[in-house]
Amino acid sequence: MPHLTYLEAIRDGLREEMRRDPRVFVLGEDIGVYGGAFKITEGLLDEFGPWRVIDAPLAETANVGAGIGAAVMGMRPVIEMQFADFVTDAFTQVVNMAAKYHWRTRTPLPLVLRMPYGGDVKGGPFHSQCMEAWFVHTPGLKVVAPASAEDAKGLLLAAIRDPNPVLYFEHKHLYRLRREEVPAGEFVTPIGRARPVREGTALSIVSYGWMLHKCLEAADLAAADGIAADVLDLRTLAPLDREAILGSVRKTGKALIVHEASRTGGVGGEIAALIAEEAFDSLDGPVTRLAGEDAPVPHNPGLEAAFQPTVQEIADAIRRLAAY
């Protein structure tokens, strides 16, 4: 199996789908000649030409709207936001035009929005945001957020083949974090299915994206103290894998939910509410959340380090909850 970074896995997935299906094309700012701000689409222009790798104007509403229009016509557009933060300039297209399209027409809208999101790139408040919760609260959208290179490719293929608008949240911190074995050729990570990463009975840890990696590090620290955590990588945020979440918590009786996005109103709230309602009888401790601060993401590295949950904070929360 080839060893790929998360970033290479995305490029690999795009290239394979474009080779397999002539309806698939990519559109975004600086993605063609330049190969994208993160060089993810590098080489695609040469292989597929300017009508399938489209260097678009600086206009998110136009670019997302054009993707929707092409999808209406049966194409399979993959629209890149240069940074996920800029999707706010296309908000009407995403939450009103795309999200409600199938419900109003009963015809498919196969659209993928690539959303480079999250912190640790010294990007500050407008290049680091995690806004997945806005879209999880918008019926008609699917939301995925891979944590591994394998899922980066598998979920991208699934998103491109899905007949619905899918927001594909790719974490910038993970782009070049490390190389992993990624199956060559076609494979799909099913949307809506969480991944049990680690077996344990002391408590359930539910996370996704960058924070999943911090949770695994923290789980190692706790394991040294004999605490065996059940770790779940959500992978899909909408629709949530309710069974996987509830199944784990019914087994362990305790839940720790960790995400990078600001705490208040984040996806963690929905997950905690789900647990507190559906698995109440199994609960042996408070449903606990660790999340980003209720503040914009700061640019200064020291401040930003304080913004996100740290491995130490997660490990402490694990110990506290396990001891509860």
């Binding site: 136009a62 229009g69 007949p163």
Partner: protein, 340 residues
């Protein structure tokens, strides 16, 4: 902004139109669709005042020449991204009168199956983009539809309608610019009815005329009398031909007046009486009828037959809609996602 000039002098006469190859049958078809929109909406107004139409009700009274003249310029495989004052265009592209009434009545038989209301509809299966309430949100999407045609090398054209108010939105600007940059086959039809709800043109733009915006996108722009179906047709036909030939988008400013309220709930006292009288007197339907009679194309017999046919279609369509079931409340959460 300068008040719309009447342009009456440069209207092509029916003889020009005939010379331009528009046969009597086609001229009568234009009249038929204009009268059909008026008749359907007239019936809708009655239903509305009978309290049988849930929510708001909008008409395209006075806009019929724009809807019909523009849509008549499209070929069979072309595509439409309409708005809320061009009902005839929906019907010319294949929507049935029954489906339209079913939409008004929120029934399962309507194109949105009761999920959305009044003119907020469309039908992708027939190449009609369903528009959403957010003004001009269809413009970038129409550009994307044109992009797909271009990508696949299909000689199809997309025509979209929008209002004077809609031109103030970012969505309109971004969509027009995108289509212009890639020279996409898109025809941009502005229904300048001098008001956006209660807002007059001088609160919408300081431009001398909306056509002046075209140069800013590097596309041709033309202004026509929106109450003259042949003037609209001629401009649209030229724009469609240009777009089909790879010449990119054209902005067509059709000037008219919204001679009723924004919706039927609006008493539109903010519209000056003189302005209203001026444009009411220029109702596009009798105006076109007079010209067809002068040209000997419309006769009493044809007129009566057309009226009878339309009356029948309206009543049959309404009956069909009334026979269509109310949506089942238990399906409220259905259809949010397309099944793989």
């Amino acid at each position: 902004m300068a008040k719309s000039t009447r342009l009456s002098d440069d209207r092509p006469s029916p003889r020009d139109a005939l010379a331009a190859g528009i046969l009597p049958e086609r001229l009568l078809k234009l009249l038929y669709y204009m009268r059909l929109q008026r008749a359907v909406e007239d019936r809708g107004v009655k239903l509305y005042y009978q309290g049988r139409i849930p929510g708001a009700y909008f008409t395209g009274w006075g806009h019929e020449a724009i809807a019909v003249g523009a849509a008549a310029a499209l070929g069979p495989d072309d595509l439409l991204a309409p708005m809320h004052r061009d009902l005839a265009a929906y019907i010319m592209r294949g929507m049935t009168v029954g489906e339209v009434f079913a939409q008004f009545l929120d029934r399962e038989g309507g194109p949105t199956r009761g999920r959305d209301g009044n003119v907020h509809m469309g039908d992708p299966r027939r190449g009609i983009l369903p528009f959403i309430s957010h003004m001009a949100a269809s413009v970038p999407v129409a550009a994307g539809m044109a992009l797909a045609c271009r990508q696949r090398g299909e000689a199809r054209v997309v025509l979209t309608f929008f209002g004077d108010g809609a031109t103030s939105t970012g969505a309109w600007h971004e969509g027009v610019n995108f289509a212009a940059v890639f020279r996409l086959p898109l025809v941009l039809v502005l229904e300048n009815n001098q008001y956006a709800y209660s807002t007059p043109l001088d609160h919408q733009t300081a431009a001398r005329a909306f056509v002046d915006k075209a140069a800013g996108y590097g596309i041709p722009g033309v202004a026509v009398d929106g109450n003259d179906v042949l003037a609209v047709y001629d401009a649209a036909a030229a724009a469609v031909a240009l777009a089909r030939g790879g010449g990119g988008p054209t902005l067509i400013e059709c000037r008219t007046l919204r001679v009723r309220g924004h919706s039927e709930a609006d008493k539109f006292s903010y519209v000056p009486k003189a302005l209203l009288d001026e444009w009411t007197a220029r109702d596009p339907i009798p105006h076109f009828e007079r010209r067809l009679r002068t040209a000997g194309v419309l006769t009493d017999a044809i007129d009566e037959a057309m009226g009878a046919r339309i009356a029948g279609e309206v009543e049959d369509g309404l009956a069909w809609a009334e026979a269509s079931p109310e949506p089942d409340p238990r399906t409220v959460a259905d259809g949010v996602y397309a099944a793989e």
